[in-house]
Symmetry: C2
């Protein structure tokens, strides 16, 4: 995108509502929560990402002359409101769960506390950024889990949904556990490893495959992965690769990191055959990389069948999260500050129980089992609630309230997940580097039980409500559903 | 994205291959084709889009000092090659099918004729731009077809895969037939209609629904769509909306364009009930708009059940093309120019017949039935072939060659689909406005038979090869598959 700021990257209704609040003189401070209802792809958790771009967005929020002129041309905004917009900047507070954290449905990933006009405006872009990157970081986590320690390379730029989807998708993929990306711009902007070798077209511009391989190896002796499926993988590609590896060895200048890439055919069959050929030729350290429409399911199955593959290039399925290409984050009003400075909880009712929101100005505590460091549950409560880890803690399921667990004092630890990002419009948070976020994300996944990381039908992590929050929610629901 | 140019938005291997060609002194002019193999979502055709962004990309291609410094830091590029990059600009030719055209599998949507290093570099970004926008324009066409004349509004920004996916997705949605978008930045940059009213949060900040409606109607009497499902659609929302409509009528200032929006519950049931209530209250001209996770299938079914809905807001499913979130465009070498200036056809062999490419420097003629103006077939041929519409034309299926059709001279017309965009690095094409492209796209769809527009199992449009192209392809295949 050719714009430095994304101020107008918003739904029109945010602006029509803003004008409504403006005209009505409504300046209350409100609380909006970003949360989601289901983990994508049936996963047991999600990885949140995109906060650093949200910070950039908020910092750069401003309506230029051109923006205001454009809005005036729509003939729905009055001059006094446009005047207000031209001086607009964000003055509120934002709290968020740090990028790379594992998160669960219903809990606020990000919380905006701001005058209503400001809080309303930022809805669409915040959702766009968080939804996209959390989706790709979560999908990547699944692929990385299936690879069971093998390196996953992000190769999807050409199939991403536009330039940003490629760029920020690569960022999210690194956060989710990819060892590198083919995307050079992502490498430049986020200081992450870039990877890749050559395409079929390279081979096709040479008189024959052997010559193409040989030339490539001369150019890149330190890191030489040869694509072996242009003509015939086992009859031509692998033998030609071995011939080149051998020639370099014989010449006393063996290749440093080297191997082959398979990009078509049955990867289990071909990789095992190729492994055998490479081993028998005396190249047991030649790596085998595979690509070609891979996802976590195929990867899982190929590994189960003993595919002799060390590293995987994953494209379309990862960069679009193909089987589930949206992360359903929503942005819901949860409280309005009254003239006494108290947050009055607000609830959105729905016939659909799971769509009922959690009211109030809230925070989240993550509860870890002291002995293992694993996550016991998350607890959503009001922001001003305090807990004492030395005391017993009673957790109960907010829907099936008879499901209760008592944690004995001293056996658990608590960590507040929402951290302050903006205070009175001022950014007070410094984002870690993408590499640091990826490292943190790895630790985060270590805090999950294996049962939650499983690809299929994982165990659910409980997200409970504090007794006080539960009581307030119940009272609001009862009040809304008074018998007629 | 905060960068003016997308030069580094490319796969690393494009650059490692470029360096290889550079070192080898390989400067031949080559031909690369962009084509795809399957229409997304089982559609009978696709709509190509994204060319205007490709033009911007090519025009702005250049390696800045920072870019070159970054590449140097990777320690895989030599100084002489980096020197070459710092003076790089595109000097080749590009041909493309105009945006908004209906297109079919296997035919080149875009053709690059350039020195090999230049042609190789631009692969990834061209594919990214064309794949994304063609996907969304095609998906939109399906949704618009299902709506059978009702207006479709693009409402997906918050679920799009990043800012660009929202912005250019909105552009592609307008090309594909949406009447407007909620995306204000898309409105500003592409001069297309922006639409939207208010969210649940608007209602929730007022003491009651009636007051919220009333205030909104006062603000926007010319275009007032009230969201009626915050509390209870039929018991509260619709009656309150009617009360407000009535009050404005009674006060002698009836609302101009007005209606309600349904965003949850069963849209067939609720819309019919709401229609009845509105009609009985004397508001037959109140429109009913629906949103909530719509796609072409649900829309088709809702219309079949007589849902009383006039306009539809479509979000996630359209902006991500949820059931098929990638358009499989590929970029394949098809010819190399020899020292005599002749294009030597190149073919990529594959065990998978459908992955075998069409060799040579080609163009496409679209063949229309003169009487109806409908598409008979597309014909791929060499760029230098000529045809005479007064002569009989024999078409045959390139796989099932016994399937033949003879068109009598004078009963058909031919139109060359690829038009010149860049000549010697100079852009010689002026893109129409997005509105003009959308208008053209509508005409394009009129040239399809109804059988091809059907949502389910549409009739295939034939894409045939000229006799000369067929003969050359067959000879290349025979040559590659000589018995041993």
């Amino acid at each position: 995108m050719n714009k430095q700021d994304l101020t107008l990257l918003t739904d029109l209704y945010e602006l029509t509502m803003m004008q409504g609040y403006y005209k009505k003189g409504q300046h209350e401070t409100v609380v909006f929560d970003v949360f989601y209802r289901h983990n994508p792809c049936g996963n047991g958790y999600s990885v949140c990402a995109g906060l650093d771009q949200v910070i950039d967005y908020i910092k750069n929020l401003n309506f230029t002359y051109e923006d205001v002129d454009y809005l005036r041309s729509l003939h729905i905004f009055d001059d006094d409101f446009l005047q207000y917009l031209s001086g607009f900047h964000f003055t509120g507070d934002i709290y968020a769960i740090p990028e790379g954290s594992v998160v669960f449905p219903k809990e606020p990933l990000l919380k905006v506390i701001a005058p209503i006009m400001e809080a309303q405006l930022v809805e669409t872009t915040i959702l766009n950024l968080i939804n996209h990157q959390s989706l790709i970081a979560t999908k990547t986590s699944r692929v990385v889990y299936a690879a069971d320690g093998d390196g996953i390379m992000e190769f999807g730029l050409r199939r991403a949904q536009g330039p940003d989807a490629g760029l920020y998708g690569a960022r999210a993929a690194i956060i989710g556990g990819c060892v590198g990306t083919s995307n050079v711009l992502a490498g430049q902007l986020f200081d992450v490893p870039v990877m890749g070798t050559h395409a079929h077209s390279w081979i096709m511009t040479f008189p024959d495959e052997y010559t193409a391989f040989k030339y490539y190896a001369e150019l890149y002796p330190d890191n030489c992965t040869l694509l072996v499926d242009t003509y015939d993988t086992l009859k031509s590609g692998v033998p030609n690769a071995i011939r080149v590896f051998q020639e370099f060895k014989d010449a006393g200048k063996p290749l440093k990191k080297y191997g082959i890439r398979l990009d078509s055919g049955d990867l289990a069959y071909l990789s095992k055959k190729a492994r055998k050929m490479l081993d028998e030729a005396g190249f047991p350290d030649a790596s085998i990389c595979a690509s070609n429409d891979l996802d976590e399911y195929l990867l899982h199955d190929l590994k189960a069948q003993g595919a002799a593959i060390n590293s995987w290039g994953v494209g379309t399925h990862l960069i679009t999260s193909k089987d589930c290409p949206s992360f359903g984050g929503v942005y819901k009003l949860s409280a309005i500050k009254n003239e006494n400075g108290e947050f009055i909880p607000k609830i959105k009712i729905s016939e659909n129980t799971e769509k009922i929101t959690n009211p109030g100005n809230k925070t989240i505590y993550r509860i870890y089992e002291k002995e293992t460091g694993k996550i016991k549950a998350d607890l959503i409560c009001f922001a001003d609630e305090t807990f004492d880890e030395s005391q017993d803690l009673l957790l109960f399921d907010p829907l099936e309230t008879w499901k209760k667990t008592k944690l004995a004092g001293g056996t658990y630890t608590m960590r507040e997940m929402l951290v302050p990002i903006f205070k009175n419009g001022e950014c007070i948070y410094t984002s870690p580097s993408v590499t640091e976020i990826a490292e943190y994300c790895k630790q985060e996944k270590d805090s999950l039980w294996d049962e939650t990381k499983r690809l299929f039908y994982p165990h659910r992590v409980y997200v409970d409500l504090s007794q006080r929050l539960y009581d307030v929610k119940k009272a609001l629901l009862d009040q809304a559903h008074k018998p007629e």
